[in-house]
């Protein structure tokens, strides 16, 4: 069935290094994508979003890349910090629909 999924369930990165979290989606009709960060005991926190008419968007220390040809989404976090340790989810919204479909999540651990 249609799904939004992630390549890796866990990722460990040395503090200060850059990290890349990947996400694959299967519905070419999806036109809006979001990355969320969820820390333990908290709800998901919006990080950055991108629309399907773009292939790159940058925020503070984060960059989202969208490759519609291969239906791939990635989140790059630069100069990782201990506070970046969390589970990261990608989510997609399909044209005209209100609901979000979430991927399975990647647990990012920043090692000191």
């Amino acid at each position: 069935g249609e799904s939004v999924g992630l390549h890796l369930p866990t990722l460990s990165v040395q503090e200060g290094d850059n990290s890349i979290i990947n996400c694959a989606y299967s519905n070419s009709a999806s036109d809006y994508f979001i990355w969320y960060k969820q820390e333990s005991g908290k709800g998901p926190q919006f990080i950055i979003d991108i629309r399907s008419n773009m292939d790159k968007r940058q925020g503070q220390r984060v960059t989202v890349l969208l490759n519609k040809t291969v239906k791939h989404l990635s989140l790059q976090i630069a100069a990782t910090q201990p506070g970046d340790s969390a589970v990261y989810f990608c989510a997609e919204k399909r044209g005209g629909a209100q609901k979000l479909v979430f991927g399975q999540g990647t647990r990012l651990t920043i090692n000191p």
Binding site: G41, K42, G43, Q45, F46, Q98, K99, Q104
Partner: protein, 113 residues
Amino acid sequence: SAVISQKPSRDICQRGTSLTIQCQVDSQVTMMFWYRQQPGQSLTLIATANQGSEATYESGFVIDKFPISRPNLTFSTLTVSNMSPEDSSIYLCSVEGLNTEAFFGQGTRLTVV
């Protein structure tokens, strides 16, 4: 961004009982969403709650098990009825932001024993 408050933040309940979770938003919103996050899993949409109409449930979720109220534009409740241990999850309320991103409450961590 909207500020969303959920009550309770956590609870431990006996099987067979029901729990009502409250979601309060600091601004008026058209649509509110309820998600379930099972242990170690991603988020799954339960239903969409619109003010003045019945909630719209996703496949696998039914009104008898998860009745929802939406009495006004800033408040909603989700009831988890006749609970079993399989209902142990985090239940999350969310609303849509100006740019269609969703904002979430801190969640209600439910344990059914």
